[in-house]
Amino acid sequence: MSDNVKFLQGNEACVEAALYSGMDFFAGYPITPSTEIAEQMAIRLPRIGGTYLQMEDEIASLCAIIGASLTGHKVMTATSGPGFSLMQEALGYAVMAEIPCVIVNVQRGGPSTGNPTHVSQGDVNQARWGTHGDHAIVALTASNHEDLFRVTVEGFNIAETYRTPVILLFDEVVGHMREKLVIPNPGEIPLVERLKTSVKEGIDYHPYLPREDGRLPMSDFGAVHRYNVTGLFHDMWGFPTDNPKIVHGLLRHLVDKIDNNAHKIAMYKDFYVDDADRLLISYGSAARSALHVVENRRSRGERLGLLELQTLWPFPAQIVRERARGMQSVTVVEMNKGQVLEAVKSAVDKPDRVFLANRTDGVLITPTDIRNFLRVIKGKGI
C-alpha cells in the first residue's frame, strides 16, 4: 500500500496537512487533547530541516511562531482551551501586525481546566472575541480527516492571502479518532505562498501599504528592507501613531480584509438540502452525528437536510440565510450552550424557527440525542 494512504488520528492528519502546506516552524506546549500534534511535529520537522520548538508556555509558543513568520516561514502552534486562553494577547498582536500564522485549538470541556480528555465545542465564541478590541478573525473546523486535511491547508492559504492568524477549531473527538486518510499528491490542493515584496533595495518599502487587491507584500526580517512591526496602531511604515485618521483606516482595513471576503473564506457542505423541509446545521464532530440522523431519516422518507459549516468565522451568514429559507425548522447541533445557534438566529429571516440540539457533558452528542430533540421540536407544532 502506498505511503500516502494512512490510518491515523485527526491530530496526526493535521500535522500531515501542515507539512503538505509547507509549514516548517512549529512552537508549542503540551496540552491534552492536542499533544499528539506537538509530538508528531517533534519527529517530523527535524527530518525536513524544519524547526520544532517547545516553549515554556502557550504564550511564548504563539510569540515564537510570530517571530518566525516574520523571517518568511509558514508557522503553526497547537493547543487546547486553557492554552488558547493564554494565547489571546499574542493572537491580537498577530491580527494587528498582520502576521500569517495558524493556531490549532483542539477543543475540550471548559471553563478553566474543565474536562481535559473529553469533547466540547465551547470555544467558538472565544475564537471570535477572545482577544480584546474590534477585529475580524478566521476560524475553521472539520468533522473528518479528509476535510480536516483540506481545511488545514486552506487555513495556511487564508493566513498567507490575508496576512492574518487563522484558528483551526477542532475538537477532541476528531483530534483523537483514527480513520483513513489518503494524502493528496503535491499540487492536488493549490498552495498560497508568502507574497514577497518586489521593491528593490534602497527604494522605500511600505510594509503596511496594501496593494490594490488588498494584499500586503512582505519583506523578511534579515532581508534588505528594515522596518518596524508593532502591536500599536501604526502607519504604512509600521511606526506607531495615534493619528485618528490612520487609526480609523487601519482598523477598517483589518476588519474589511476578512469580512469583505467572507464569501471566499466560507467553506461548508450541503447534504440533502435542496428538497429538505427541515434543516440541521452542525460542524465538527457533532456534524457526524447530525449526518447519521439525516441519512437515517432520509431512508424513512423524511426530508431532513444538513448544512455542515467548516468556516465558523467570519460567519457565513448569507449561506445560512439562503439554506434556512422556507424550512419548517432549523436545528443547530453543537456541543455548547448555543454559540453558533446565536449566529444562525441573527442570520436567518425567521429566528423563532431556529432550535438547539446540544450536549455539554463531555460526551459526543449521539444520533439518538438529536432524534429526541427533533421530536420535541416537532411537538412544538413545527
Partner: protein, 181 residues
C-alpha cells in the same frame, strides 16, 4: 456486510488500544472497508480501565462511538464489570480465563478463551498477548483476514519481532476457531 461495532477493554499496558488500532487499520487499508477507531482517555497514563471503540463497515461511518457493541472484549475483571452490561443482545463477549471470572449471564455468546495462558505456554512473552487476542477476534468474526493484520504489523513493528507476532496471531486464530465451534 453487517456493521461491526466493537469495544476492546482491559487495563493500560495490555495493549488493548494498540490491538484495536491494528484491527481498524487492517480493515481500512487492506480490506477496502471503512473503519473508525476511538478511545476513551482518562487522566492516568497507565493503569485504570481502558476502552477502545472500533467500527468496521462497508459504508461511510459517521457517528464514531460505540454505544452497544456486538463484539466486546474484556481483559480485566474491572473492564468486564463495567462494560458487559452494554453488549448488544446476541452479541459476542470474549474474555480471558486468567483475568476474568464470569459472574452474571448476559444475553450474549460468552466465550472464555485461555489466551494469556497459551501465549505464555507457547511463546513465553506477555507482550504479544494482545496480538493473540486479535487473532481470536478475527477468527470468531471473520471481519478481516490474517494477512491484513500481518501487513499492518509489518508496517508497525521491527522485523525481528515480526515472527513472534505472527506466531501469537496464529495461536489466537486457532483458539478463536476452537471457541467458535
Amino acid at each position: 456486510m453487517e456493521r461491526c461495532r466493537m469495544v476492546f477493554s482491559g487495563s493500560g499496558g495490555q495493549g488493548v488500544i494498540t490491538a484495536a488500532i491494528i484491527l481498524a487499520e487492517a480493515a481500512a487499508i487492506y480490506e477496502n472497508l471503512t473503519a473508525v477507531q476511538s478511545q476513551v482517555y482518562g487522566a492516568e497514563a497507565r493503569g485504570g480501565a481502558t476502552r477502545s471503540d472500533v467500527i468496521i463497515a462497508d459504508s461511510t461511518i459517521y457517528f464514531p462511538k460505540v454505544n452497544q457493541p456486538n463484539v466486546l472484549v474484556c481483559l480485566t475483571q474491572e473492564a468486564y464489570a463495567k462494560f458487559s452490561p452494554i453488549i448488544r443482545p446476541g452479541g459476542l463477549l470474549i474474555t480471558d480465563r486468567r483475568y476474568v471470572t464470569l459472574m452474571k449471564k448476559v444475553d450474549a455468546r460468552q466465550r472464555e478463551i485461555p489466551m494469556f495462558e497459551t501465549v505464555m505456554d507457547k511463546i513465553g512473552k506477555p507482550i504479544v498477548f494482545n496480538i493473540c487476542m486479535l487473532g481470536a477476534v478475527i477468527a470468531m468474526t471473520d471481519i478481516v483476514k490474517p494477512d491484513a493484520i500481518m501487513k499492518v504489523l509489518e508496517r508497525r513493528i521491527p522485523e525481528n519481532f515480526l515472527e513472534m507476532n505472527r506466531q501469537a496471531l496464529h495461536l489466537g486464530i486457532e483458539l478463536g476457531y476452537a471457541a467458535k465451534r
